[in-house]
């Protein structure tokens, strides 16, 4: 590659990179600004004081919201991993009548937009007494076709002979599952875990529907609350809240970016 072409490429990369991250970077910078600076339209804060962060934690129960989001995301992640890997195991290793039919049933779930079912789902959760509870926020999302297919692809790489041998040796299916299959699929499971956590942390519509008090709200709904209350004019404080919300997922994304890309591509091209 010629030097000229390299310089050109780096310039294109830098410009587009800056355009893409600018809104995020700007939010970080504003979170350190005092009210006057924001109104003047400064791009760089005069000092990096944490005053806005303290204020954000004081004015809304941000810590409770963050904790709720963490619990909900971890529960959904674990629930999805368990259910998806169990289902994927059955699709790969256990042959029985009607398996194909159930597989098509799983595929068909991907054609139903979740939003089209939200009214009866709300009624169901309400009648179960799950409004404002972790159960209502998490359990409806435990089953996931995409994750099942992703793991199924991975499980298929395990030789069938290994499974048959273990059956003859009298090793139970559950032991084969936990002892052989899960360790082999470790990377794919990690990918799925990152994806699940990201998606769960960022959920908006469902938590908005099923929580209506401060004790059970997730942090995304906390942002809406910050934006609609009188704090809204205090952009420094609002952006401090935004930073607290995006920091965990950004760190997770940067750590797992390569893995996520490989896993999602695998799922896409299945």
């Amino acid at each position: 590659m010629s030097i000229g072409k390299k310089v050109l490429l780096y310039m294109a990369l830098t410009v587009s990179g800056l355009v893409m991250v600018f809104p995020i970077l700007y939010a970080f910078l504003i979170s350190f600004m005092q009210g006057g600076e924001v109104l003047q339209g400064s791009l760089w804060p005069e000092s990096f004081s944490l005053a806005n962060y303290f204020s954000a934690f004081e004015r809304v129960p941000l810590l409770t919201y963050l904790w709720n989001s963490l619990v909900v995301s971890v529960l959904i992640m674990v629930g999805q991993l368990v259910l998806c890997s169990l289902a994927a195991f059955a699709f790969v290793f256990i042959e029985f009548k009607g398996r194909e039919w159930i597989f098509y049933l799983f595929i068909s779930t991907m054609m139903i937009p979740w939003e089209a079912t939200m009214v009866p789902n709300f009624q169901t959760v309400q009648s179960l007494g799950w409004l404002n509870s972790y159960a209502g926020l998490t359990i409806p999302f435990f089953a996931m076709a995409f994750g099942t297919f992703l793991l199924r692809q991975q499980f298929k790489t395990i030789p069938k002979e290994l499974y048959e041998a273990s059956q003859i040796a009298g090793i139970s299916k559950l032991r084969f599952f936990t002892g052989v299959v899960l360790p082999v699929a470790k990377t794919t499971i990690t990918t799925l875990a990152i994806y699940s956590f990201l998606t769960a942390w960022n959920m908006y519509l469902w938590p908005l529907l099923v929580t209506n008090n401060e004790a059970n709200r997730t942090v995304q709904i906390g942002l809406k609350q910050m934006q609609t209350q009188e704090i809204a004019s205090d952009w420094g404080v609002v952006m401090a809240g935004v930073v607290m919300v995006i920091l965990p997922t950004l760190i997770l994304l940067f750590a797992g970016q390569k893995r996520l890309q490989e896993g999602l591509t695998q799922g896409a091209l299945k």
């Binding site: 587009s16 893409m20 042959e95 159930i102 009214v119 409806p140 994304l253």
Partner: protein
């Protein structure tokens, strides 16, 4: 009698018995592994979908309890209401604004980031960053950028001596503004998948092209884009479905306004069901949303199948 019974338990019939017993035990274990997923799909996806169709044929009270069977009336009312026509128009325009532009942008970034250069990892991280951003956080940031008095866009316009625009309050601009923010939010995910698709292309193709001495644009048109087409196709489908399901940025940025210009379908369902307590109408709209997504998915399967044949 004894003889017959002995015969029955030995030989091929015995195998058949054993076979049947094994099939039964396999079925039991298989179902044990699948049952948790099946139950949840049943309770939180299939049942509510059927229930939605059912509710769409009824007049409901404010609790969402069906009261009078009205057949197609909810649908007829919908198609005759200006509000729904506006919502359908907003949804179609939103899809039109966000999907093609988003895919072109993400593809360009993916091609740019697929170079073997020192430090390319940093740029890839920058391009994929929006995947870690929630809809709520992104919307709050864009709300600030769109702010008429202190937001970045009007400041740039002011610097150029152009009068400011009410980005989110002017019916002419609101949907366009939300679309720009949405394209930005969705780029990270599309970029990551397209980059993966690019990296899966057989490098020997480019090697042969280099030896043949063909131009860069020829390589892009004849190797990169055709080889990337399955991934592009997948990203298009996902983007289309996502666009139909948009809610968060509407709720935070415009609440469906001004003058219902951004009242896309899911927001409209939400408003009818949870603010106006008109569950019948909301269910009818949900059924239409389901049909729209179904058409996109079926098309994907059909066209995807054909592509495999031609390869």
């Amino acid at each position: 009698m004894t003889v017959i019974r002995q015969e029955a338990t030995s030989g091929s019939t015995g195998d058949w018995h054993l076979e049947r017993k094994r099939a039964w035990s396999n079925w039991m274990t298989g179902m044990m592994f699948l049952l948790p997923s099946l139950i949840l799909f049943g309770v939180f996806l299939f049942y509510p979908m059927v229930r939605t169709v059912y509710l769409s044929l009824f007049l409901t009270d404010s609790q969402g309890v069906p009261v009078v069977f009205v057949g197609w009336e909810n649908f007829v009312n919908l198609f005759q209401s200006t509000s729904f026509q506006l919502s359908a128009k907003a949804t179609a325009l939103f899809v039109l604004y966000t999907v093609p532009a988003g895919i072109v942008l993400a593809t360009a970034l993916a091609i740019l980031a697929n170079q073997k250069l020192r430090g390319i990892g940093l740029f890839r991280t920058m391009f994929s960053a929006t995947m870690g951003m929630s809809v709520a956080a992104s919307s709050v940031i864009w709300m600030f950028l769109f702010n008429p008095s202190i937001g970045l866009f009007n400041r740039i316009l002011a610097a150029l001596n152009i009068p400011g625009v009410q980005w989110l309050l002017d019916p002419q601009y609101a949907l366009l503004s939300v679309s720009v923010a949405t394209i930005w939010m969705n780029t990270g995910f599309a970029f990551l998948i397209l980059l993966g698709g690019l990296q899966n292309i057989d490098q020997s193709l480019y090697e042969s092209a280099r030896i043949a001495g063909v131009s860069e644009s020829y390589k892009l048109r004849k190797i990169t884009l055709p080889m990337l087409s399955p991934t592009l196709f997948f990203v298009t489908t996902v983007s289309l479905i996502n666009a139909f399901q948009t809610f968060g940025q509407i709720d935070l940025l415009t609440r469906g306004g001004p003058m219902e210009s951004t009242n896309v379908i899911v927001y409209s369902i939400y408003k009818d069901a949870f603010i106006n307590y008109n569950v019948g109408s909301a269910s009818a709209q949900a059924v239409l949303l389901f049909v729209a997504v179904l058409i996109v998915t079926v098309l994907q399967f059909k066209i995807g199948e054909r592509k495999v044949h031609y390869q």
